[in-house]
Amino acid sequence: MQSNASQLKSAPDPEQKTRLELDRKVFFLETLLETSRELNGLIQPRRIMDAFLLMTMGSLGAADGLVLLFNTRSRHAHLVHRGIPPAEAEHIEQNIWSIYELYYTEERPSGPSTSMPKLITHDSLPEYSPLPGRMEAMIIWDIDQEYSGLVGLGKKISGEPFEEDDYSLLLNLGNVLVSALAHALFTKNIEHLNADLYKKNVGLKESLGQAERARRDLQRKVHHLKSLYELTAELSPLIDSDQLLESFLLTVMGTFGVSRGFALVCERTARRVRMVSRGPARQPHMSADEADRLLYRCLDSAENRALEPMTVTRLNDPELLFEQIMPGAAVQTAIMLVIDRSHMSLVGLGPTLSGLPLSGEDEELLRAQAAGFMVFLKNARSFEAVQCLNQELSEANQELRQTIADLTEARHTIKVLEKAKATLKSIVQREADRIGRVSLLDFSLILLAALVLGFSFNLANPNGIPILPKSMLIAPVAGIDAADARRLQEAGLAVIVDARPPEIYSQEHIADAVNVPATLFEIVFKMKLARLLTPQTTVVVYGRNISKRYDELVAYQLLARDHEQVRILTEGMDSWKRQGFPVRP
């Protein structure tokens, strides 16, 4: 090239000049083509830079040169140099970012566009440069916003200065370099993007897998929850333990597609066993002792022997375990439910219709169902206990009511008794108060007692006396006045009888009167009176006082002796004396 240029300058012939010009252009174009071809196959920026430097230095005949590529985002820089002493190269490498700052202070273009390379000739180079001072030409460029770079060339080996053509070629070469670098970087970027995309694809695939798994989990959980919900819906309206057990077994068998199975609940303290079974191997009722033995055997083969309340444990080797007790049941899965220490339950399921054993998830579901069943069973038991308590309470209430009724009656009785007692007490106290006093009642009572006793005794006494005088009870005897009596006496037609006792008679009596006391009537009548009387003789009797009517007594006795002419002297001896008739002594 140097020879071409010198030939161009020295050749005065226009034709030759034109030919030289054309040669030079051909040479330029060939160089560009060659460089372009050289760089085209490369994709590594460093190698591109290396090849470019080699080609550029070769074609321009530069003694030394360098290419710098800055990555402003990652703050990485590549340095490729030729013909620079190692010390200088090292110095450049150390000051690489101050070089960048020196040449790239202006605002960078926004957007991903790539700017055209800018040529800085020897004249416009700054005085101070961290680059070696003999740099003759420099190109700086930007590739989008991330990459920048510069190419620097030293003096030519020939010692000639750079000419216009050299600069033009350099600029064109710079264009090729920028294109190659941009292409390489773009390719690299795409590769990065591809790698990222691949990674992201892998991640997406994993995520898809996970999502699928999650969906399956979700489906399974939905299925579990649905089964549990169905079981709950099935069991919740039931309050009877037997019904609960049967319903639970049927639901579980339906859930897992099992054709035979059994479930039993054993209350050890109450010695009660409830058992239900379905399928061909239907088992009759089991006794409490059998159930006890079975439970011990089950406990032996249980996975968890802690017997914590409200736990479910799986039983190992169920077919063998239940073969003796339930021959033909072919139990594949069995669990033991510990509601509390005295209340346990066993559930055994035969082979599924599909013939596959229950999966881990199915067993988990079975456990969940069993746990739900335990809660219902416990509730049912509580309900039964409450019912039992209610029953007892109502009985106790009945008894209480009866007792209250009895008490009320007793209280009533007590009231009556209290009243009676109060009455009695008041009577007795009144009587007691009366002790120290004299009362009319006492007198009345004494009088009444005396009357009753006196009359009673008199009635019973053979020597009793009449209560009232005889004269008050029978017709009175006819009377005669004193004058008539005197006349009859004087005519000798009457006998006057003094009926009073002798001692009174002896005090004073009617003259010629015969003393016939009533008490001595019989004797005196015979001795004295009988002689004096004829049937025509009138007997005039007198003698009475306030307390005694002697005359009437004697008159009655005379009348009793059939003597009809008996008269009583009216007003007695007093009228006799008033008339002035004689008396004695």
Partner: protein
């Protein structure tokens, strides 16, 4: 207690009063009068007709009431006498007996004034002739009955009973 102003008498009177109203003395009077009436009633109950005669002899009772009285009065005497002896309703019994004695005394006094030639008939129909002594004796008995009425307190059947009742 009456104040006499003489120191010696002021002490003496309560002692005499105490002695006179001593429960045992009153008890003795009570039993004596009670027994007396029981004894007196025996004859009168057995021989009602004779007692009726006796009543009649006093000439104080209407003729229609004589037998009635002869039947009832002895039993009253018996009941009251028994009450006095056992200490039951002593106040009423003593009052009744005092009343009867007062009647008897009055009857005797009237008969004595009338100069009736009769026996008192207190114990027997054929008793001794009535005299002022009879009246005096009846008055003494009346005094005893009144004394019992006023001061009796010992050995009363009711008292124990009454004490027991008050405890209820």
């Amino acid at each position: 207690m009456e104040k006499t102003g003489i120191p010696g008498k002021a002490v003496k009177r309560p002692v005499l009063r105490k002695a006179m109203t001593h429960p045992y003395l009153v008890l003795a009077f009570r039993i004596y009068i009670g027994s007396l009436f029981v004894y007196a009633s025996m004859y009168k109950i057995n021989y009602a007709s004779e007692f009726a005669e006796t009543i009649a002899s006093y000439q104080l009772v209407p003729y229609w009431a004589v037998n009635l009285l002869a039947l009832v009065m002895p039993w009253m005497e018996l009941i009251c006498g028994l009450f006095l002896v056992i200490g039951f309703r002593t106040k009423s019994a003593a009052a009744t007996i005092a009343g009867l004695l007062a009647l008897f005394s009055a009857a005797v006094a009237i008969s004595l004034f009338r100069d009736l030639p009769i026996g008192c008939g207190c114990f027997h129909a054929l008793g001794e002739q009535m005299s002022w002594k009879t009246l005096l004796r009846d008055l003494v008995w009346l005094g005893m009955a009144v004394h019992v009425y006023l001061f009796d307190s010992a050995l009363q059947v009711e008292k124990r009973f009454a004490l027991a009742i008050r405890d209820i």
